[in-house]
Amino acid sequence: MMTSGTTTVRPPDESTESAGERDKIAARAIGLTKTYGDGQARVTALDHVDVEFASGRLTAIMGPSGSGKSTLMHCMAALDTPTAGRVIIDGVDITHLKDKALTRLRRDRLGFVFQAYNLIPTLTAHENITLPMDIAGANVESGWFDTVIDTLGIRDRLTHRPDELSGGQQQRVACARALLGRPAIVFADEPTGNLDSRASAEILSFLRASVDDFGQTIVMVTHDPSAASYADRVIFLVDGRIVHDIADPTMPVVLAYIQELDQPRVEV
């Protein structure tokens, strides 16, 4: 049950993707700023962030704890409203959209994988996967559904409820749900944060495969340099600002940069 389908899994350190071919922009942030609190207690989680996420790419966001990774992702995923700046998703400026339109946008154009608590406990895996489509009242393409669940290897788990699934299986079900609606972009906040290395590798391979085989766009927050090495690009956040941008990252490069980041801190 831990087999990961029939996907071509690319070794993480053999990054051969040519970036120029797919330069269509799936999501973009312009001058994105987010502050919490007032006066003394004021925290600037995001500080005038300009970033673009290209279509058909797997982008990783890294940075120290509290650097604003989750905040960036939430603002870009229409889960949170920025204090200033604009967010454009799939060509739509979402900055001034009302809750109803934002909800529809999330439902129809975005996919989510969270670190934990991804599934509705009362629904079976199958029902969880089709939930956004059911909410929208849309029909599930059965061919695509089969492809997704076979790729994730969860066909024999479809009738189970979340509490009958392992953490890795739950994350795979969450991935299947995120992908089923063919969203413009999938946001994943530490999708492997609670998993062991083997289960992590399976999830990351699957995310990679869905980019390569289905042209899915994915933005993923992670603390794990090996996870970042699955990505086409890694951006580093520190104190709410993008401080570094690595194309086609490999594990040594990422590790080296993280050490470089830590260095001055130790001295201070």
Binding site: K100, F114, T122, R177
Partner: protein
């Protein structure tokens, strides 16, 4: 640990306030009941004292046949004898009868069937006070009590018509008097001569009031008076009369208080469910926190104490709020009583410390007892639970509990069913059976959750798909909780359903019985209350050419041993022409002289047979020999258990007290019904209060008599339903809180606010309807059983109030919607991120 308790209270303030609200409603019932009782007590004590003002000694007849039989009348001739007794200052015969005036609209002035009383006017009578005009001097003048006059829309100097005793005449209102509390009765006063003529036509009265000369004590006077009294009369002191009235008042109040407290008990019982449920949920949500406390070294008793401390605070707060609400409710009830009965029970309401103490104790105790089980569960939390992630709520034992509930339900139903099937119903056993069945339903309810909620949610699933499916799954998530939430509604509605089946059956039985047994075309009656038809109406009706047969029915109290009943006095001939009375033994024609008829069930329970001779008290006749002439089948149209001959009635009831209860009239062969009706209307018009009903109208009116009582019961049960609604609100709000992250997730992946609101509303509806369905089934079962049990007592037609059941189920949908409003709004206000990030 005190700090933990305080923080616990703080953290769940709203939840606990809602729980306190459930306590509050129950307690308000208790407080209200006691406050009302005390006000009535005070008002009535004042009234009793007022009504015996100027009464130092009362002369009255002794009870005929002893026990609590009727009293013999006292001759007016005694007045002169009594006046001659030394120490007597004043002798007033208590002349009292029927007197009713027509208001400015020409209709009789009456309140809800309360009697229209007539008294004799005397300038020096301390029982009332002349506040305007002067007393009556001859038969065409009356003085009217002030509230009555107000109701009539008339004033001093106006002319109107009045029924005084048996005669109707035009009168002039010469004055206005003030009385104590009349409890809705109207009062008209006439001059002494008229009073004697109309209220004591045979020269007898019920009692004579004697006032003492200054310096003569009541006791001395009573002894002096007793010396001159003939047989079968007695002299009692004013103090003794007061005490008698007082104890009668206390007894009546005791019944009323018990009756109200039963409903307070139901409300508190329902509230207990909600309290237990809320604490269970609060503790479930704090399982990790409690486990952490245990891991840090808190003992079980400390955890238990902390939870019980919370319960105590909730109980006290709820009780105190309940007292306040109860006092408000009592004020409302007072206003309603004044509006409906015209009784003012005093301007301020006495709130005694006993009332407050009882309310506080009851509310706090109920809360703490309800919280004991959840608190013990909390204390048993294993310290290791703190380490575990989300501990799923234990679901085991559901089947076992369901089986136990099912068995109890079946056993209870079996016992109840077999009890009521017996001829001589063992009511205690039937009661135990019902109780066991109710407990079984409560215990087994979680197992019924799945099937019932599935069916209830089905239409929603068809219409709104996944949203309703989510709602259904939520309702089924913790069946115990859903069941406990629904139980509160279940109990309230089971009582409503049971009572209404009984009421409907009474109506159906009466209506059917009356229309089957009654053959007459018209009935002359005074609708509602204790008033009666003057005997002259029957005499007038007999003169009509269109009337073929006129049967007057009067009542006379008959006591045989321990058995006492108002017997119907009729003539055999006319009654057989107006009724279809089926005999089970003997013939109707045997009703003659001292031969009486007895209905079947009475004969059976008393062991009487045709031909038996019984020593009875009939009206004023003591130790009278009666012979059972025949036994008739129990009758609806004829609610009396014993029928005596008219001749015996005339011998037993003084002329002035003879009145008819109903007059049945069958048209002469070939006579026109419309003409007969018109002629009858002409006859009754002067009597103001007598109405003409045809057979159908009469049947309906007889059956409808139960409606007022029914409405009162519904109002009282409404409290329990409100508490049940609070319970649903509480459970929903808590489970929304519990599912915050899940709701955040749903919102993140695209559930609209509206859909979220719909989800919670459907969950609430499913819960409410579930409770309503269980309650209705339970209530129907109990109601039907009760009807079967009472079948031999004449409740032979089962009436199912389908309309009410449909209304109840629809109302439960509304209850669900109402209960969902606050939690739904709350849930849609959840910030998605806050929800997701919550650990």
């Amino acid at each position: 640990m005190r700090r933990v308790t305080l923080r616990g209270l703080q953290g769940h303030l709203v939840r606990l306030l809602l729980t306190a609200a459930a306590v509050m409603l129950g307690v308000s019932f208790v407080t209200g009941t006691f406050v009302l009782r005390d006000s009535f007590d005070r008002a009535l004590t004042g009234l009793v004292a007022g009504s015996t003002a100027g009464l130092d000694v009362s002369v009255r007849g002794t009870r005929i046949g002893g026990g609590d039989g009727t009293r013999a009348p006292v001759s007016l001739e005694l007045v002169d004898t009594l006046s001659a007794v030394p120490g007597v200052a004043r002798v007033t015969p208590d002349l009292q009868g029927v007197a009713i005036i027509a208001g400015s609209d020409g209709n009789a002035v009456r309140t809800n069937g309360a009697p229209g009383l007539g008294f004799a006017f005397a300038d020096d009578d301390p029982a009332f006070k002349l506040i305007a005009g002067r007393g009556p001097t001859h038969a065409d003048e009356v003085v009217v009590e002030t509230v009555t006059l107000d109701k009539a829309g008339l004033g001093v100097g106006d002319r109107t018509r009045a029924v005084i005793g048996a005669t109707t005449r035009p009168v002039t209102i010469t004055g206005e008097v003030e009385f104590g509390v009349l409890f809705g009765a109207t009062a008209v006063l006439v001059d002494q001569a008229t009073a004697v003529r109309e209220f004591a036509p045979d020269g007898t009265v019920a009692s004579i009031t004697i006032g003492a000369q200054p310096g003569v004590s009541q006791g001395e006077l009573a002894t002096a008076v007793a010396d001159v009294l003939p047989d079968a009369t007695e002299a009692v002191t004013g103090a003794a009369v007061n005490a008698e009235h007082e104890s009668a008042v206390q007894q009546g109040l005791g019944y009323a208080t018990t009756f109200l407290l039963v409903f307070a008990g139901v409300a508190l019982f329902v509230g207990a469910f909600i309290i237990a449920n809320t604490f269970t949920m609060l503790i479930g949500q704090r399982a990790r926190e409690l486990a952490l406390l245990r891991a840090l070294g808190a003992s079980r008793n400390q955890v238990l104490g902390s939870v019980m401390g919370e319960a105590a605070v909730v109980g006290v707060v709820g009780s105190v709020l309940g007292m306040g609400l109860g006092i408000l409710v009592a004020h409302g009830a007072k206003a309603a009583i004044r509006a409906l009965l015209g009784v003012d029970i005093g301007s301020d309401l006495p709130v005694t410390s006993a009332t407050l103490l009882i309310s506080l104790a009851v509310g706090t105790l109920v809360t703490m007892v309800s919280a004991i089980l959840p608190a013990r569960r909390a204390a048993r939390t294993a310290p290791v639970a703190a380490m575990r992630a989300d501990t799923p709520i234990a679901q085991k034992g559901l089947r076992r509990r369901g089986t136990a509930g099912g068995v109890l339900l079946l056993v209870g139903a079996g016992v109840l069913g077999s009890s009521v099937a017996r001829d001589d119903v063992p009511w205690v056993l039937a009661g135990i059976g019902s109780f066991v069945a109710v407990i079984g339903m409560l215990v087994g309810a979680p197992l019924f959750t799945r099937p019932v909620v599935r069916v209830v949610a089905w239409p929603f699933v068809v219409v709104s798909g996944v949203v309703a499916r989510l709602a259904r799954q939520n309702a089924l998530r913790v069946p115990r909780r859903t069941a406990a939430t629904a139980s509160a509604l279940m109990i309230g509605l089971a009582l409503v359903a049971g009572i209404s089946v009984l009421a409907q059956s009474v109506k159906a039985s009466v209506t059917e019985g009356v229309s089957n047994e009654l053959t007459s075309d018209f009935v002359l009656t005074v609708s509602g209350g204790v008033s009666t038809v003057p005997p002259t109406v029957a005499e007038d009706a007999r003169t009509l050419a269109q009337a073929g047969s006129v049967a007057a029915v009067s009542l006379v109290p008959v006591t045989i041993g321990d058995f006492s009943t108002p017997a119907a006095a009729v003539e055999a001939g006319p009654i057989s022409e107006n009724f279809r009375i089926s005999m089970s033994e003997g013939r109707l024609a045997s009703l003659k002289d001292d031969h009486v008829l007895v209905d079947h069930s009475t004969a059976a329970t008393q062991g009487w047979r045709v031909g038996d001779t019984l020593i009875a008290t009939v009206g004023t006749l003591g130790k009278h020999e009666l012979v059972i002439g025949a036994i008739y089948k129990d009758s609806q149209a004829f609610s009396s258990h014993v029928i005596v001959d008219r001749g015996l009635y005339e011998a037993a009831v003084p002329l002035g007290l003879r009145v008819d209860r109903e007059i049945f009239i069958t048209a002469a062969p070939g006579a026109d019904q419309t003409e007969l009706r018109a002629a009858l209307l002409d006859i009754v018009r002067p009597y103001l209060v007598v109405s003409v009903q045809d057979k159908d109208e009469f049947a309906k009116a007889e059956g409808g008599a139960i409606d007022n009582l029914l409405n009162l019961l519904y109002v009282l049960l409404f409290f329990s339903v409100v508490i049940a609604v609070l319970g649903i609100v509480n459970t929903l709000a808590l489970s929304v809180l519990e599912r915050t992250r899940e709701i955040g997730l749903l919102r993140a992946i695209g559930l609209q606010r509206r859909q979220l609101g719909a989800m919670i509303t459907i969950e609430a509806i499913a819960t409410a309807v579930f409770g309503a369905v269980l309650g209705t089934v339970l209530g129907l079962g109990l109601g039907v059983a009760l009807q079967r049990g009472l079948e031999s007592q004449g409740l032979n037609t089962l009436g199912i109030p389908w309309g009410l059941i449909v209304i109840m189920l629809m109302a439960s949908v509304l209850v669900g919607v109402l209960a969902a409003v606050a939690p739904a709004i709350r849930s849609t206000r959840l910030v998605i991120l806050g929800a997701i990030n919550r650990v």
